[in-house]
Structures are given as structure tokens and as C-alpha cells.
Point group: D2
Chain length 342, copies 4
């Protein structure tokens, strides 16, 4: 056993919990899992068995009490994040938390104070920042190759809608799905978003209307530095998970196309055919999930601040709330209506 | 000489006039030029010499009085369109008019009445409708391959800004440049635009600010049928003329990439390199200019209504005016504030 | 009428004759057609009518006797080339001749002497040299961007086999079809071909076997400078006309992909789909036919040697004959077995 | 510890040994390493330390004597393969052996008999068969989508030459590098290679000539079923590892492009730029190395014959030897001159 490995507790054994647990158990340098927690006891024990995790518990508080645990990965539902983070920080555990931190600006501010007071390491799981494609675009922007950024375009479309149950507890399209794009808009360009204008539609499935949600949206963002961004979202792209960004500036343009399972091209009498995008985030972002957790572990070991902070978590939620208000009030909305700039 | 060729007068020997004159003189079936008119006498005579056009005149009225002339191509500045069209219709000449018809909704309505009253054939020069790439996208939409359209994305960026003189008389970005994209948005989807929200910036050259204009814009459009569109424009893409559209719908997505002078790929130690887009509209849309004029000539011969009507000219100007107001008043603007639906 | 235009006689009103006649009549600067000749009288008159050509004749000798004619375009069958060229040169007519000049090395040598003796301008119709894609590859090679060339790869596949009648009089795959690729191999690299090894198959249609011909081939060429080339041919690529080249060298690689009618990309549940190549040479090489004839006309006017000489015509036939012998004798064959280097 | 994991001995801790050891230690289901062997003691112990491998030995015989070891991975130099395989089979160890098995047809036949006599599981490391790109092409061929295969094209170019020491012991280009392509030619099409014609050159580095080797080659292969293949190789492609295949047939064509580290496209005034191929086999084939070893482990566990047999190892060596003779004797060479068909 690697004695220098940081002992983790993983809280949540659902879709995203499985990804992080498998990475921490087998692929992350200098980390190991000592306990897995989920109120769904069977699922928790099944996953623990697969990954050779010694302890399981239905109660996250047991994880926080465990003296062996030095860091936790919070993969439970958003509404549980606040309580877990506050207690974990008090218990001196380092915290990796899935996005969004919380749906309330006030709660995130409280969390931010707690993190600062306790000095634990905290990172939000905006995994797409660690995707090689998007990182390359940011590098091109940072290097000056794009020049002054003028227009950012982000297309983010899921292959299929989630379940009605998921939709009802998701916080809505902007807080659940577009929040990744809001963070991407902030990540690609070194300037804050100051204004949001959004249009939303139910074009994919009436179930979204029943839940008071939307399934299709276009959003326009204004950066503080004068640049503009447009985002378009859909809950169903029949051809698969569509994840593209483009940054246009005074010296050039940087774009990324989708990742595919292979690079074949097949030509027949009907046309030229190639592979669909990797189907969904588990396939598309497999490397970015690994990289983000490795970076968190490295930050814990080196005692440095992680690259995604509570402010990043706060800013993206504020933009999402502004987008919601833009639709409700049918007007451009200032992000400052929700949060003052740090 | 082809006796069945329709005798044209061409009014305007500038950039776009040269394109149409060369096509009518050499490449259009069943058309010929009998007179060329431009107040710039030298330029007019030089072009007439190159194209073997027998007559020239500095005064467009001489063209309209010429009994040999059956049809005219109006390639003069926008502010001259109204007078020429009104007089030409009275003279019984068929009219091809460059976009925009006029910057005033009232004038276009007056023109529309005149066209109907005189029965002359009238067509607006939205040449991009006749580009093979965009026509293919429209075909895919029409055929049902895209399903119900949800989101339309149009990127339109010029390679370099026009002269300050041109800018000052252009009517502004939306009426001069984006108007093509507004027409494209209407062409691709069989539904009218009902609302516009626009953001404009001066990021390319301060000369635009001096002229009260913008050089960079993002525009969000709402279709009557619930679909959404986003347009982004720039007056300078250093890599060349960037002309792309994308239609995303319930059954798929149709996009077009830029046209390039060749399909070479060069690989060296620095990367994989390929050709820049064709530089500007003269190269990019050479085929569409030819096709649109051929269609106009065919419509004149067959006495059928051309595929781009005064209503198309009117609707695109109304959307452009709504975009201007959206920026002035910083709010979403209804197209109905400018024109009632026909 | 353009008085400075060179008066042409066009001999042959078939598939390739129609292309050259239409170009000379309408699109070539400084050229016009005064007479069209084809033994198929009806077809000849129909084409002359379409293109407003004043005179027609079933006998090419009438063209050569016509004092108005200064230059001829030979578009008749290969077995007629020798007699026409010899008589035309004696009549002092400049000569554009479709490839191949002749199937006999001796005849081409006789032609070469005649051309030199009479001083008429002579050019062979290797149109692909004037295609923008291939010219770009050659430019990259010439500029040194590719470095020393090591390997040339040429893929040339027709969309469908010609008629049995055509096959029987074609001279066989290498002299009819691959001859373009042999010329391309010589055009791309400044070094002569010294050895040929070929494999041929009948995989597309047994009609080729009946005619003593092949429909599928791979050919390996050795350049004098040590570089290597591989060519692959098929008489039927169901996805359309496949025309690609690749030059690999010490500093990089230059390739071209096929040209398509448009650049659309359509994505649905089945995959990502794009346009097939332009169907056949009339569409694919429309620009190169125009450019080559313009260059011939310019050479006649400027009294300079055209860029494709009798030696080029001779060398490609010698390579084709070596390829035929390679298959017959199942061994690598020296080009010097057929022609000494000039 | 996974008690059902097959205990491996890994023989050879060089470049390829490191890949297989890391996979067996961390990423392969149902396998673990109990001993690592390499005569280079320091390197062996360093790797064992990194991978937490308990035992090391400079002598492969110690591995074969180890009663805990059930299977071995042979990653040592080719000239050691024969002795190790013979002894390992006698010791009842299952054997994964890197390509080529041996450079002597007789030795491989002896190995084949030994494998059959002892009944151990044996697999050759033709890892490219397990690459998702090439597997997709084979699937398209197998499914009938390509129709009857007519022409196979394989391009295989290394980013940079190996060391002179490596070259001198490599067996030459065909046995060291092209052997992968010979196997690929056999893998893609269900027909054996019957004849080989090869051309070789020293164009990259004179060191190859000093070693009696070549660095550039084109090879033509005839399949028993009448299909043709062309292979081109270079020891140095300055733009990176170039690994492409194309299968052309009666119903269509299947090709694969290179894999790249990301899908970015950067456009500036110089052109459109994208990422170079993944640099070399460690990056390009990382997944295929993992998949092939997993399949070997699964075959050992399930007691089924692996998908790459001694016959596959034998056939590819015979083709390579035929290619060598083709160059020496400057003629097409039958594979049957080296081995009778099984």
C-alpha cells in the first residue's frame, strides 16, 4: 500500500460518484479510498465491493468522524452539499465538491467564509476545465494567438433528457446544465460576466414545461472587458453529446470539434460518413474527471489553492440565476443584481 | 447575336456593378447589356469597353428612357434605389435591385405598391440564397432531415473593414452587413422573425465609433414558430471571410463550413495546415451572383414572380431596424414595432 | 467582335470536344471558334448552333485548309491524332491536342520532329496540371516546404466504367486512364520515371477481360532521383470520382482531398454525413480545362512554348507502355526499354 | 488483493516492457505481476519499485522456475524469444510474446509445434489489431459495407529513426517495422498474401545504409483472392507518427485518419491549423496495448485460443522475408518460397 496516499471518503455512489470513486481507487496517484457513503445501502456496498473499499456507511457524518479520512469527494445531490461542506470543514477534511456548490448565493458565501476560516483545501468539480480540448483553446487565448477576444461561442447539447425525477430536482436547465458553460465562458477569457440575456423554450419534451423548466435555450453574455458570448443548449441532440467552443479575436479564431470514438471515414453511394460524437459525459469527459481529481489531490498534498475556487462556484451560480431572471422578466439582467464582484 | 436575349441597362459600375455587368455580358443565358450608367464617367466607360457594351451614360434616367432596355440591374448606392425603382417601374422596366431596397420601411411599402400597380418583375439581390452551400442546408431543412428546427446559428465575418467613407453611408452594421444574415435566418426556416435582441461593440477599429456605428455584434432572434437564432458578426476576421450557418433540430443538425480556394493539407513539424476561406464576397459568392441573375432573367422571360420579393426586402430591413433599436434601448424589440406581418 | 481573338477550328464534337468548344466560344480571353468539325454531322451542327459557331464540316481537312483558322483543338479519337497533327503543322496551324498524343512512341517522335521543323505551337491536354489543388501541391513541393520528395501517392478512380465500345478502342487502362497519373507523377516532382512495376486485375466488370483490358491496378514507379511513387486505379468507385495525391518528403507532407459540390455536414442518429466528390471529370476538372486552354491561347499569342510539350506526351506514353509490359512479363520494366531520355 | 488474478512474470523492462508491466500492474482486470526480469538490474528494480512488484531477477529462467507464475509477457529482444518460449512452454507457462516471434521460419515452426504439444496459451503482440480505428475498418469490411475488397492501402511512418544500435539488431525495416503492416494487411482482409514486390531506399539517414538496412519503402502485395495492397513506410515523418489505412471495394471505401491529442482548429492570417498526430506508438497505441493484454488474460482464464496465433506470427515473418528477397533480387517474390500455406 502506498503510505503517502491521501485517504479519501467518497460521499455519494450515484452516476458521478461511481466515476470519482473508480478514479480515486485505481487511477489517481497518491490517493486511496477508505470509506464510501450512500444512503442507498445496496448500491453503496456493490460499488465498494468492486473497488475493494474496506468501509461503507449510509451516513455521511460517519465519514466526517472517521479519523483516517483526510479528504472527501462530495458526489451527493446538490441540496446536501451545504451541510456536508460546513461539517467537513469543521472536521478539518479537505473537500472536493461536485458542481454546483449550492443553488443559494448566500449559502455559497457562508461556505466561502467557512473554508477561509478553517483553511481546508476546497475545489469545485468543473471538470471541463481539465479537458484537453478546452484547455488547448484556453492556451491559445492565453498565449495571445487569438489576440483580444471579441466573441465566444459555446454549444452544449445533451444526447437525451434526464428522467422527470432528475429534472424536478435539478434546479433547472441553467443551474444544472448551462452552469458548465457559464464556467467555461469565464475559464476561456480572463474577464468576468457582467450581464445576461436569455431565451428559453420547451421544444424537446413537454415534461420540462410540467416541471417549470426549459429544454432549449440561447444565452447572450457580456464580459466586463467588452467581449460577447453566445451559448446555445438543448436537452436532446439526436446525434449525440455536442460540446463545442469557439473563441474569435483580433488575431485569429480557436475552435474545437467534438471527440469521436474513432476517426474512420466510410464512403459509399449515399455520401461520406464518419463517427458520431462520444455519447455522453461519462465517455466524453473521462480524461477530464481523472485530471481534475489528480489536480485536487496534488493541491492537497502541496497545500496550494486549487484552480477552481468557491468564487468560481459562486460566479457561475450568479450567472445562472441572472439567466433565470432574464427569462422571467424578459430583459437583460446584471449579474451584480445577485452578487457583488469580489 | 442571341435575338431572344433580354436587353439590360445596368445602373452602377462600382464593386457590385462590375460583378453583375460581367455576368450579364458573358455568362447569363438570354441576357445582354445595351447600356451602362454611372456618374463616374471614366470608370463607366472603362467597364463598358472591357465588356463590349455599346452605350454609356452618366444619368440613370437615360437608361430608363432607352426604348431598347427591357430590364435594369440597380447596383448604385442605397439612397438612390427609391427614385430609380419608382421611375423604372413607371417606365415598365423589370427591376433587379441590390440589397437593401431602402432604409425606410415607408419607402419600401411605397415601392411595393408601385411594383404591384405596374406589374413589372422585381427581385432583391439576396445572393446568398443562391449559394450551393446554403441552398443545401435549406434543402435538408425542407426535406425534414433536420426535423423541427430549434436553433439557427449564423456566423458572418468580413475579412477587413470597408473605408470610412463607405461606413458613413452604409446605414450601419445591421442594415449593411447583418441584413444578409437576417434574410438567411428567414430563408433557412419557414417562419417569420418576431423579436430581436442585439449587442454591439466597437472592438475592431475606432473609426466605427466615430461614425456612430459598431463593428462587432451578437444578435438573438425569435421565430414565430418558437425556434431561436443567434447571429455573430465582425467587420474583421484576420483569417478571411467567415460565412457559416448551422440549423439544429429535432432530427439532426445541418452545418456548412467555409469554401476554400483548394483542398490541400500540408503537414510539417508545426502542425497540420490548410487553406484559408475564400477572401471576400467576390470570390466566395461568385456562383451565387451568377445563379441569382440567371433566375431573375428566367423569371422575366417566364413572367413569374422571383423568389425574393419586396416583402423579403421589407422584412429584413424591419429586423435590422429592430436590432438598431434593441441596442439603443437595451431591450428585446418586437419586429412588429416596425412592420405588421403581411 | 474581339479582333485580337485567335480564330480556332475545333476538331471533334464529342464529350471532350464539347468542353473545349464551350470554353473557347464563351470563356477564353482572346479566342473564338470559326469552324467546328465532326464526322457525326447532326451532333456537330447541334453544338455549333448552341455556341453560335458559323461554320461546320464533317472533314477535318476542311478545317486545316480554312485560311481564317490559326489554331486547332484536336478532340477526336486518339487514332486520328497523328494524321491531323502532321497535316495541321504543315498547314501552319497551332495545335492543342488531347492526351494521349498517340499510342506509338515512333509516331510521337515523328510528330515532335514535325513540330520543331514547322515551328507551330503545340500543347498536350494534360488538364490536371492546371487544377488548383494539384498546382498547390506542386507549389508546396517547388517551394521546398515538402523538402526532398521521398514518396508520391496517387489515387485515381473513375465513378463508373465507360462503354464496351470505348473500352475496346481506349488503348487499355494505362494508356487511357493512368496516363493522367503518370503525367501527374512527373508534374509533381522534377525527376523522370525510370522504372515501372504494375499489377492489374479485373475486379469491376468482366467486360474488361473480354476486351483484354484490366479495371483495377496498382503501379509502383521509381524516379531517377530515388523517390518512389505508388498509383492505384479503379474503373468504378461507387462513391464517385476519387482524385487524390500525396507527396511525402524530408520536411513534410502535402495532400489534397477530393472536391465536393458543397461543404455541408449533416448529423443525425446514424452518423455524420457529408457530400460525395464531384461526380466525374466534367465537373471535377471544369476549371482546369478552362485554365489549360487559356494558357495555350496565351502561349500562341506570346509565341512561347507551352508548359506541356511533346516530350511530356512522349514520356507518359512510354511509362504506360512499360506498365503494360510489366504486367505481361511480370517483372519491373525500365522506361528506357521504350524511349531514351531526352 | 484480487485472488482470481493471474500471476504474471514480465520478461524485459525496456520500452515495450514498461508499457505491458504498467498495464498488467494497474489496468488489466484479473492480472497481477509477481516478478519482473531484466538483465539491466537497475532499470529492472526501478520499474519494479514504481509498480510495487515484489520480486525482480536478472535471469528469465528464474521467472520460469517460479511456481507462483502462471503466465509470462515476453518483452525482451527478438533474438531471446525462441529460447524463452521453448522453456516457458515446457514449464507450462502461458505466453504473450512481442512481435516478431523470431526472424527464422524454422524456429517459428518449432515453436508452433511446442505450443501445440504443451497446450499453453500463446499470443503474439500485434497490438494494432486492437486499435479502435483499425478494428472499425475491419468491422466495415466484415459487415460487407465495403463489398468485395479491391485495394488496401497502408501508410506507416515513424516520427524519427531509432538508434544505430537498435537498427543493427532490428532485423531490418521489413521485419522490425513493416511487419505490423503485413499483419494489418492480413487482418483487414480475410485472404492470405501470396506475392510481394518491394522497393527500398535510404533517403532519411545514411546510418541505415551503413547497417545494410533501408529507411523508406514501398511494397506491393497480392492477396490470394485477387485483391491488391500497397504499403509505404518511412523511418522519419517530421510531422509525427503517421498511421493510416484504406480499404477500397466494390461497395465503398473505409479509411482512418490519424489520432491527435486534441481536436482544436486555429485560424489566423497564415492558414487553418490543427494538431499533429500523437507522436509515437506509446501515445498512439496506448489503448490497443491495454486491450490486447486484456484479451490475452481473458483467453488464459477462459482457456480459448487467442485471436493472434503462431500462424499469424509466421505469415507476417514470411511476407517480410519475401520483401527482403524482392529487393535483393529485384523481382516479385512468392510467399510460398518461404512457407507453405497452413
Amino acid at each position: 500500500m502506498n503510505e503517502s496516499a491521501i485517504p479519501f471518503g467518497v460521499i455519494g455512489a450515484g452516476r458521478i460518484g461511481k466515476i470519482h470513486a473508480a478514479n480515486l481507487a485505481n487511477r489517481i496517484r497518491d490517493a486511496r479510498i477508505v470509506v464510501l457513503s450512500d444512503s442507498a445501502k445496496d448500491e453503496c456496498e456493490r460499488l465498494a465491493g468492486q473497488l475493494n473499499i474496506a468501509k461503507t456507511t449510509p451516513d455521511y457524518r460517519a465519514v466526517l468522524r472517521d479519523p483516517e479520512v483526510q479528504a472527501i469527494a462530495i458526489c451527493s445531490s446538490t441540496n446536501s452539499h451545504f451541510d456536508i461542506i460546513m461539517a467537513a470543514a469543521d472536521a478539518g477534511k479537505h473537500i472536493f465538491c461536485e458542481k454546483p456548490i449550492d443553488l443559494s448565493i448566500e449559502n455559497i458565501k457562508t461556505i466561502d467564509k467557512k473554508i477561509r476560516a478553517t483553511g481546508v483545501t476546497f475545489m469545485v468539480g468543473f471538470n471541463r476545465r481539465f479537458d484537453a480540448n478546452f484547455a488547448k483553446i484556453r492556451d491559445l487565448v492565453r498565449s495571445g494567438a487569438v489576440g483580444d477576444p471579441h466573441v465566444v461561442k459555446i454549444t452544449s447539447r445533451d444526447p437525451a433528457p434526464p428522467s422527470e425525477k432528475y429534472i424536478r430536482s435539478s434546479g433547472g436547465l441553467f443551474l444544472d446544465m448551462t452552469i458548465h458553460d457559464f464556467d467555461m465562458a469565464r475559464y476561456l477569457i480572463d474577464s468576468e460576466i457582467v450581464e445576461v440575456y436569455a431565451q428559453g423554450r420547451v421544444l424537446v419534451d413537454p415534461v420540462f414545461a410540467k416541471a417549470g423548466d426549459i429544454d432549449t435555450a440561447t444565452v447572450m453574455l457580456n464580459y466586463e472587458n467588452g467581449a460577447l458570448a453566445v451559448i446555445d443548449n438543448s436537452r436532446r441532440a439526436v446525434y449525440g453529446y455536442d460540446q463545442r467552443v469557439e473563441v474569435f479575436g483580433s488575431k485569429g479564431m480557436a475552435t474545437v470539434t467534438n471527440k469521436t470514438p474513432d476517426n474512420h471515414i466510410y464512403s459509399n453511394t449515399d455520401g461520406i460518413h464518419s463517427a458520431l460524437p462520444l455519447n455522453f459525459f461519462m465517455e466524453r469527459y473521462v480524461d477530464s474527471f481523472l485530471t481534475e481529481m489528480q489536480i485536487f489531490v496534488d493541491c492537497v498534498k502541496k497545500k496550494v489553492e486549487p484552480p477552481v475556487t468557491t468564487w468560481d462556484g459562486l460566479a457561475s451560480v450568479a450567472i445562472a440565476l441572472a439567466a433565470n431572471r432574464s427569462i422571467e422578466e424578459h430583459r437583460p439582467v446584471q449579474v451584480a443584481e445577485f452578487v457583488e464582484r469580489r
